[in-house]
Symmetry: C2
Subunit: 250 residues, 2 copies
């Protein structure tokens, strides 16, 4: 039994999220459909992160058991790239040990939220960035973001319908940086994320940046453990899964 770990990138615009759902176009559904037609049998894949509808990924990870050795693992990226739809790219495929699990073995993950702060929206960023032309106070946003770093109960930053029992997560770092064409990047790394957590953090940071909330707000929002204490959920299209770290051995 040969297990394979794949890295995928996708433009989430036209998907109902990563995880397979009956009768809806999902990333996992498309990947499994192509694999089934390639090998002539059902292939079950296991993804590292269940990204939501409209959320993008530069490096989603998944694993599956290779149904046959007809196609060498090294050739898989070239062959699958040919068959996958245009909005999914198989970046790499490597053989891994039989105990590898894309979700359980993930050490930490990083998401990037992109905000286009130009006066007129950048046409080339419209699918991947939230446009906000009102001036943002980055220093206040950085002050607020720093309060979220570390281990906290993130109940306030989690969709009410989230299923996870424990709401305690560790945010390793939140950094704000400005890139080309006045894009503001909010990079968040942590050991795990609750449903909508990054988007609620970004929505709340935006309120700080716009002066609607004080820079010291986050400590109080965390303590409230109530979704209503935080800000709005930033739209999905600005969010991208950018990194998943694994132990070096695979």
């Amino acid at each position: 039994m040969q297990k394979v770990k794949c890295i995928l990138s996708y433009d989430g615009t036209d998907f109902h999220g990563f995880a397979r759902q009956r009768n809806l176009r999902t990333v996992q559904g498309e990947v499994e459909r192509v694999m089934q037609s390639l090998w002539g049998c059902a292939v079950e894949t296991f993804g590292a992160s269940r990204t939501d509808s409209g959320v993008h990924a530069r490096c989603q990870a998944l694993h599956f058991v290779l149904p046959s050795d007809r196609i060498p693992v090294t050739q898989l990226p070239y062959i699958l790239r040919h068959w996958l739809p245009q909005d999914i790219v198989l970046v790499s495929a490597i053989p891994v040990g039989s105990r590898f699990h894309a979700r359980h073995d993930a050490l930490w993950k990083q998401y990037r939220y992109t905000i286009d702060t130009a006066l007129a929206p950048d046409i080339f960023a419209r699918r991947f960035a939230l446009h906000e032309r009102r001036p943002l106070d980055l220093e206040s946003m950085r002050t607020a973001a720093a309060q979220l770093e570390g281990e906290h109960d993130f109940t306030s930053f989690c969709a009410a319908r989230a299923e996870q029992v424990s709401k305690v997560r560790t945010v390793y770092a939140i950094s704000l940086s400005v890139g080309d064409n006045q894009q503001l990047y909010i990079d968040i790394a942590g050991n795990g994320f609750l449903h909508n957590m990054v988007r609620v953090i970004v929505g709340t940071l935006l309120q700080v940046g716009l002066g609607v909330r004080a820079p010291g707000t986050m400590t109080e929002v965390l303590a409230r453990r109530d979704r209503r204490a935080a800000g709005f959920t930033a739209p999905a299209h600005g969010l991208c899964l950018t990194h998943i770290a694994y132990p070096a051995l695979d």
Copy 2:
């Protein structure tokens, strides 16, 4: 009579080019349709460049006569942005003199062709970059590009069906640079461009970069004055109109 100069950017993917055509979705057609519904009368616009089907623009220029002073020119970008489709952004609108003409007054233009040279295509660049994973010899490409700078008869680099009588144009500069995520940018500035000229130049440069043509090829291709002497026409989706220069007075 108040003339207005507008700067537009657009994602050319879903347009049959810039210039209006009956029964086809074009950038000019969409802009005029929105203007007609805004002012309740037909508005004729004049664009600086007729970009082809699938070609993008960061700064297309156009002018038109304001049908009424009901909407101040300064407010036009905000109002038109609201009504224009998602793949067109009105970047700016300024009043200009009555003799201004977007096409006739243009001093020079710049186009950028983007090539994604990463082994696996960048999912976020797929609409705006040609993917070429074979190694490219940039020094040979630069040597070839330099032979095109200056005033030349560009018949060899022009679609056979091009309508322009004189095929003499001046290329001010061709520069190759490498950006984020292994993107190769080919920037071409000149006083005017024949139909498909940039795309044929890029196709020929790619053949040089791949070693199919010698770096010294361009001088001979120019001298032949025959489209068949040059390389293939690079696909439209990698091309973007990036700058149009006008005299400072407007």
